[in-house]
Symmetry: C2
Subunit: 280 residues, 2 copies
């Protein structure tokens, strides 16, 4: 590895810690290490979870870390479809370098300084892809799908803010851009899982039928635990949890969504919001 | 009209001023008047445009005005599909009353206090539906569509902020919810116009072929004029304007989008953003 190099890590979240340990042995303090992995790691003890950038910060000798995320289907990038992505780092120099190194005539890189927000968006969206897969399997209309995706954004950003992220990140490519694509794409494993659940299969049956894992299931468990600890209201995630693990009827989950206690369109837009943008 | 009534006005924007004048003659200071019209009115002189709520404020004897917007296809509401909408008013009592009056087991109403933001989102989205119709007609991939819709949100909220609206509104049902549905729906006239433009028809040919107007064309002209006056960077809207009215090649428009000067994912998320949320 040459000093000042850019290393992009795209490995499954379950192997991320091991690979980072190996990279750490090769990496210089000037190097830039960028995670392209969308996932979370459950903390072995003490509750909560770690994001991939937190594993990089913990193990690497460089502070020049960042993350990449966005609506980026690899096959489409390879085929030359116009694609936008986000690089997020607290170090503006990392963002500038990654933008220069990765950009091409068909690939555009935008910058964001909210690392946790970008990572949380990429990880959390898998939960909502399952929900939209269920909705798609039930042949809901466009009004319903638009409401589901928007309310998904509301609760994703609500949790993210409670963890110190910036809700505006959810207005960008890693937020709404990636969510929209994942939640309407039958190519997503999480969406496929939802479709099977809509047919009446149990979680175990659906996973067996697919023959592969859906990342959103693990994310769901960890995130619901954390949201309960923090007192964050996430009716869609909690409803999916009851549907998957308590086999609650979908009608009850829908009723909670339509009659739940939170009447505000966008909480952060309220004049009495205590959020200070840019504080973090 | 009974005192303290709720009047919902859903008329074409071209007739809105006339109908409001008639309503004004019947309306009491306690009545609540809500616009469900998505559109703008070009100011006859002096440049710029008025939103429907500004026409209500100008002509009515009541200050209790509001607007309704969101991903709300009328046919789907009538068919009982689950639907979410937004009521926006500076008067919390108006929001509460409308929420109670309109809600049902399948229709949920969320509140927002950012009236102009909600109206601007509903009007501006028609411009981006034309652009997404072009993209759909060119068979772009999901990465590209995700980028287009997200960058549409970026420039819609940029203009809205310069007009005093709250960018967070674009994270809600009237913003991303409505935009996403309109920009992926072949039912939208604006999307249909875009599809025809992608086939190589001129604007006049495409409109003649459709046999009906697309609201986004008028909105585009007024909005581009205003954005130039205010110095707001809107590469997608300006590019569409050159495509429609100067018959510029689509390749040049795409190149500007992929190489343009604005490298930030979400401007309002920057630590140096001067935006103060909740000030308005």
């Amino acid at each position: 590895v040459q000093a000042g190099s850019v290393i992009v890590m795209s490995v499954p979240s379950a192997s991320f810690r091991d690979v980072t340990t190996q990279v750490a042995a090769l990496c210089e303090p000037d190097d830039m290490v960028i995670s392209a992995t969308k996932g979370i790691e459950r903390r072995p003890q003490g509750g909560g979870f770690l994001l991939m950038s937190q594993i990089l910060d913990e193990l690497l000798p460089t502070r020049r870390v960042g993350v990449l995320s966005g609506p980026n289907l690899a096959e489409e990038i390879a085929d030359g479809h116009y694609t936008g992505t986000v690089v997020a780092s607290r170090d503006d120099g990392v963002c500038d370098t990654v933008r220069q190194v990765l950009r091409s005539a068909t690939f555009r890189v935008y910058a964001n300084s909210d690392v946790y927000g970008v990572e949380l968006a990429g990880a959390l969206k898998n939960i909502y892809a399952i929900i939209c897969g269920i909705a798609g399997g039930l042949h809901v209309g466009q009004n319903t799908m638009g409401m589901l995706i928007t309310r998904s954004l509301a609760e994703m950003s609500r949790l993210a803010v409670s963890l110190g992220a910036n809700p505006f990140t959810f207005l960008g490519l890693a937020g709404v851009g990636d969510l929209m694509v994942t939640c309407t794409s039958p190519l997503s494993r999480n969406y496929q899982l939802g479709s099977r659940l809509a047919q009446g299969l149990s979680l175990d049956q659906a996973l067996e039928d697919m023959g592969k894992l859906a990342e959103g299931v693990n994310t769901l468990g960890v995130v619901c635990d954390r949201a309960r600890e923090l007192g964050v209201y996430m009716p869609l995630a909690f409803g999916l949890h009851r549907l998957l693990f308590d086999r609650e009827d979908i009608g009850a989950v829908v009723t909670e969504l339509m009659t739940g206690g939170q009447p505000i369109d966008v909480e952060f837009a309220r004049p009495d919001s205590t959020l200070t943008v840019g504080a973090g």
